[in-house]
């Protein structure tokens, strides 16, 4: 903990020194960014834009994780699903994010649905590939045990399959959350009238580096809170059975 704080303090010092060397136009110092955060918070714009972005992140993330888990599980367990799904996966994996976003806006208009679908489609193949890897490594022995004891499909999914997939789901969620929020910003920049991405786009046109940093850092803080108070406790809960290596 002490080292983490020390490292953070060093980052602030480097920022401060950098700001003195380059001047406030290129890199404003930490306190002016902090003041900008406070004034945006007081006007209510900060909460509004952070909320809009967060909502998009959450919806797109849940959509991609849910679909990706189901597809990954099917593709990992059934050869035919893998043959059918794999070409789609390769295409989606190699399509640049920007192409998916532009096409979604062209085909569905500059709408909220288009924005969220575009983000989810960018995340979907990665979640699918990760979960498929997990489904391929499921323990045959436990499967047979569940079959001999005639466990119901629900019990098998909940108590036999999902716990084995948990590390893969956690990995997909971890990498997914940060990827999704980066893509949401691009989607907002290109075609939404609000959100962190929209604010940063406006600030870019005005060359307002202070505002860019204020919004970016505020959202990073939000994601840090989510990681600490949501993702990590869930992870601790699902791995509680592992003997601790103290």
């Amino acid at each position: 903990m002490a080292f983490r704080l020390l490292s953070l303090a060093l980052m602030l010092v480097a920022w401060f020194v950098g700001a003195q060397l380059t001047g406030p136009r290129m890199l404003p110092d930490p306190q002016s960014v902090a003041l900008m955060v406070v004034s945006e918070a007081q006007s209510g714009a900060l909460a509004f834009n952070l909320g809009a972005t967060l909502l998009r992140v959450v919806v797109a993330f849940l959509l991609a994780m849910a679909l990706g888990s189901v597809m990954g599980l099917l593709m990992g367990r059934y050869q035919i699903a893998d043959w059918l799904g794999d070409p789609w996966l390769v295409v989606l994996l190699n399509l640049p994010a920007l192409v998916i976003i532009v096409l979604a806006y062209v085909w569905a208009g500059l709408t909220e649905t288009a924005a969220i679908v575009a983000v989810a489609l960018n995340k979907l193949p990665i979640a699918t590939v990760t979960v498929r890897e997990g489904a391929r490594s499921l323990d045959r022995g436990l499967d047979e045990m569940a079959e001999v004891f005639r466990m119901s499909p629900w019990v098998r999914l909940r108590h036999v399959v999902l716990p084995q997939l948990a590390p893969y789901l956690a990995a997909a969620a971890r990498s997914g959350l940060s990827l999704v929020w980066k893509i949401v910003l691009i989607v907002e920049l290109l075609g939404r009238p609000n959100g962190v991405g929209f604010e940063i786009g406006t600030a870019f046109q005005l060359f307002d580096v202070t505002r860019i940093l204020a919004y970016a850092l505020a959202f990073v803080a939000v994601m840090l809170v989510i990681e600490t108070f949501l993702v990590q406790p869930i992870e601790r809960h699902v791995t509680r059975w592992r003997p601790r290596t103290a």
């Binding site: 047979e144 045990m145 001999v148 004891f149 466990m151 716990p163 003997p243």
Partner: protein, 243 residues
């Protein structure tokens, strides 16, 4: 599903079972193997390692359907099985492991089972915190908790030290005496088979078939060394005569 056996008997007739070898060609593992086991009896399939015993057990359990022949399970065909490895869910406690397999088991039932098998103190432990001997007991408790019509045991005491294997064998004998259940035990250990079974089925080396059936008088009771030696001699003669 397998047809139900007559009068609650286990009827097994596997005409042919082969695996395709990695190098091409096929490997016959079972050839014309037939036996039947009465309700409430404990049968032991005894044969050399690698003679196809586990394959046979998997066929009876319905895990391998790629064979010629048929298997008639006793009564409703409810199975309890103890695999060679414990096969517990590491992310569930002992009690949850048993309850997930046997959702209808009553609290009193589980208390008694855990008591007999010396597991009462470990109910809320996770399998990763247990020794192999304890994990094996949980697998036994799980198999008994479902009140099976047929109990299948695949070398349940393999890779335990002799003293522990002996103690678990006695506990199993006690359980089978207390709550009779048609049981099929697979083992390469003649002592184990004599100590537990009503009836031995001696298997040939691969491809497996039954070469002799040997009823055991006064099953699961103490035996004098002379009696044991006589039994062992009879088994050895039959095994030799078949070759």
């Amino acid at each position: 599903m397998s047809p139900v056996g007559d009068l609650g008997r286990l009827e097994v007739s596997v005409k042919h079972k082969a695996f395709s070898a990695a190098t091409g060609g096929t490997l016959r593992v079972i050839d014309g193997l037939t036996f039947s086991l009465g309700k409430g009896e404990v049968g032991a399939l005894v044969g050399p390692s690698g003679c196809g015993k586990t394959t046979l057990l998997r066929i009876i359990a319905g895990l391998d359907r790629d064979y010629e022949g048929n298997v008639g399970l006793p009564d409703h065909g409810r199975l309890g099985m103890v695999f060679q490895e414990p096969r517990l869910l590491p992310w569930r406690t002992l009690e949850q492991n048993v309850r997930l397999a046997a959702p209808d088991a009553t609290d009193a039932d589980l208390d008694a089972l855990f008591g007999t098998l010396g597991l009462s103190a470990h109910r809320h432990h996770y399998p990763g915190e247990l020794s192999l001997g304890l994990a094996r007991r949980v697998a036994l408790a799980r198999a008994f908790a479902v009140h099976p019509d047929l109990l299948l045991l695949d070398e349940p005491f393999v890779s335990l030290d002799d003293a522990l294997a002996m103690r678990l064998r006695d506990e199993l004998a006690e359980l089978v005496t207390r709550r009779p259940v048609t049981t099929l035990l697979v083992t390469h250990n003649v002592e184990e088979a004599i100590a537990l079974a009503d009836r031995l089925f001696l298997l040939s080396p691969s491809p497996a078939r039954v070469i002799a059936e040997l009823p055991i008088e006064r099953p699961r009771s103490p035996r004098s060394p002379e009696e044991l030696a006589a039994l062992r001699g009879a088994i050895a003669r039959k095994l030799k005569g078949a070759q």
